[in-house]
């Protein structure tokens, strides 16, 4: 892709890289190296993922029996904390703060992000937010649902709303700082010759994500602050009894939280563009369209939030406009899916582990996206709103989409991040298990929702039991599917075979430097002379 004057990696027996350049806990906790901060984030979000996942296991166990196993109170707290932890502490930072943090400076040919100390600060803020939320969990959790709807959260809920809301408020600032850093880095830190039309699509999608983070998250911050004061002082801003309007809370909340859905999925789409191109050995079909569809999604995401509020008493006319605008988001999303498919057409497709996850993503995201259209349609949403259909829909997008992309990206760049390969057979097996477990868990929920089972209840009529048991069985398979990579990836740190700079024969600046990279990524600033994804015949690249 580019011409770099780079020291050949095989010279040094014990080469210096960002991992072994310094030792001791201080060198990690006070680092400003974007790669080390990405590792810190990776460890933190993995912990949060397993905490959130553990809660999912617990409430899936509860749903084995129609009358429930835990109390309704416990069940409410479990699903609420599952949502809060997974959305704000795993999905939102998942790819941006880890993979993108690691890769964006390298992909644009820079030594670091534009503001390295701000990057470290964002991690500390994230950790503080996580601690506040974990405090709420330990004290007994929150039962409001992840959306903190007022006036329930402000007046009636008898749980630790303030601690959890303040944790989310804090984590929001970490997200803002990450987005800000990416925007400035992409604008100002590109290497000579790295024009916008040569940027990898992963950078494009994370740039679009950064815009959403910067424009949306402050509104979440202020609405949670208003909520906190309403809860403390009861001034009536969201309480209809004394003149407030709870729907205003939902407007401001979804002004952030709908775009946040795209914070969670856009980086995943970027990962898939990289993987599909590499393992089809072709340039991404319609590069410009894929790049601009990311920007279109970012813009449109801000004008569709009302489709969460069709049944709230929102004006019907506004609902009609929101319904139409929500349909529009399908266009750029479909462009991406069609273009990935077209990229594979007549490519030399290989079935390495990252590509398996990419296949999973494309299929599951398509199902998640198309069922989204059911919910964007004003008429059908009235029947499906608040049922398991919605739960299944957003898990197909968030877990089937984003978590698949995260796992795919992690397997794709793991050799770059650690310098080691993982066992191939195990990783393919795990990808298969995840796919099977996922569908077993969530497909029955589409049927349950269509049959009318409402979400967020700890008990249900006995005729729904078979599908619920199937879903819980699937969840346990899915859980195993996530534990296997955890084991072999950690194993590979010491025992995996050395990866070399470019194990996949991939194009892109990150594959032209040593694995793991040195602290400043490049010995000399690279000069980019070619477009992204310049895949020639396989033999020329691997070797």
């Amino acid at each position: 892709m580019a011409t770099i004057a780079q020291g050949t990696p095989e010279i040094a027996a014990q080469e210096v890289n960002y991992l072994n350049v310094e030792h001791g806990w201080k060198s990690w906790l006070f680092t400003t190296d974007h790669k080390r901060i990405a590792i810190l984030y990776l460890i933190s979000i993995t912990l949060m993922f397993f905490v959130g996942g553990f809660m999912a296991v617990l409430f899936r166990i509860n749903l084995l029996e129609p009358e429930g196993i835990f109390s309704a109170e416990t069940y409410n707290r479990l699903f609420s904390m599952h949502g809060i932890i997974m959305v704000f502490f795993f999905l939102v930072p998942s790819i941006p703060a880890t993979l993108a943090n690691f890769l964006i400076p390298i992909m644009v040919g820079a030594k670091d992000l534009a503001f390295p100390r701000v990057n470290l600060l964002s991690w500390y803020i994230y950790v503080i937010g996580a601690f506040l939320t974990m405090y709420a969990v330990i004290r007994g959790g929150v039962d409001t649902g992840w959306t903190f709807y007022a006036p329930y959260s402000s007046t009636y809920s008898n749980s630790y709303v303030l601690a959890a809301a303040f944790g989310v408020f804090t984590a929001g600032f970490s997200s803002i700082l990450t987005g800000l850093n990416f925007i400035v880095t992409v604008h100002k830190m590109r290497a000579p010759g790295m024009s916008w039309s040569r940027l990898p699509l992963f950078v494009w999608s994370n740039y679009a994500t950064g815009l959403i983070q910067v424009l949306g998250t402050p509104v979440l911050a202020i609405v949670l602050l208003l909520l906190a004061f309403e809860r403390i002082a009861h001034v009536g801003i969201f309480d209809p009894n004394i003149g407030g309007d709870p729907i205003l809370f939902q407007h401001l909340f979804w002004f952030y939280s709908h775009p946040a859905v795209y914070i969670m999925i856009l980086p995943g789409m970027g990962v898939i563009s990289e993987i599909v191109s590499c393992f089809s050995r072709k340039r991404v079909f319609g590069y410009n369209f894929v790049a601009f569809s990311s920007m279109a999604i970012a813009v449109l995401s801000f004008v569709v939030w009302g489709h969460h509020m069709f049944l709230t008493g929102q004006s019907v006319y506004t609902s009609i406009a929101f319904s139409f605008l929500s349909m529009m988001v399908a266009v750029p999303s479909a462009i991406k899916v069609f273009n990935w498919t077209a990229t594979m057409y007549k490519g030399s497709v290989s079935f390495d582990t990252p590509m398996l996850y990419a296949f999973g993503f494309i299929g599951l995201f398509t199902i998640g996206g198309l069922t989204g259209l059911h919910l964007a349609t004003l008429g059908t949403d009235i029947a499906l709103h608040g049922t398991y259909f919605i739960v299944a829909h957003f898990h197909y997008v968030m877990v089937g989409g984003m978590v698949m992309a995260f796992m795919g990206g992690l397997h794709f760049w793991w050799p770059k991040m650690t310098g080691r390969m993982y066992p191939e057979a195990w990783s393919k097996f795990a990808a298969l298990i995840v796919f099977i477990g996922f569908n077993l868990t969530f497909f029955p929920q589409f049927i349950l929702g269509y049959m009318g089972m409402p979400r967020r209840y700890h008990a249900y009529p006995p005729e729904f039991q078979a599908l619920n048991v199937l879903s819980t069985a699937g969840a346990s398979i899915l859980g195993i599917g996530y534990l296997i990579p955890m084991v072999y990836l950690i194993w590979s740190l010491k025992n995996g075979p050395k990866a070399g700079p470019n194990p996949w024969g991939a194009a892109g600046l990150e594959w032209q430097i040593q694995s793991p990279p040195t602290t400043f990524n490049f010995d000399e600033t690279p000069i980019v002379t070619e477009e992204a994804y310049n895949y020639g015949p396989l033999e020329e690249v691997v070797g």
């Binding site: 729907i247 407007h251 004006s315 006319y317 506004t318 406009a321």
Partner: protein, 115 residues
């Protein structure tokens, strides 16, 4: 940008003081205008004056006039997004009452709802 060194735009003191004077005068004007009953125009006048004051601060004091097109674009984007939030939220509140006049069951006793 030869050698990538800084290009510095140093404003004239006279310009800055004139802008300051204009801002003070506009503050007086908006306070005075609030004592005059203009009906619904009061809020329009108040906001117009506020917007012009804010523009002066941004354009001269914050140096938007000397920044790159990119920075200007970012400033505009921020304001557009603020507009999106306020306008769409407002569209809900202003059109909520439109529907309910046409509901037949609200006035028809046979519809079951007594009023």
């Amino acid at each position: 940008m030869s050698a990538g060194l800084l290009h510095v735009h140093i404003p004239k003191v006279r310009t800055l003081v004139l802008v300051w004077l204009a801002l003070i005068c506009l503050t007086g004007l908006t306070t005075g205008a609030s004592y005059v009953d203009l009906g619904w125009m009061n809020i329009v006048v108040a906001l117009l004056i506020a917007v012009s004051k804010a523009s002066l601060v941004a354009w001269i004091f914050m140096g938007v006039r000397n920044t790159t097109t990119l920075t200007k674009l970012f400033v505009v984007a921020g304001l557009v997004w603020l507009g999106i939030m306020i306008l769409i939220t407002f569209s809900d509140y202003s059109s909520r009452t439109w529907t309910y006049q046409a509901q037949p069951w609200a006035t028809n006793p046979a519809g079951g709802t007594s009023r």
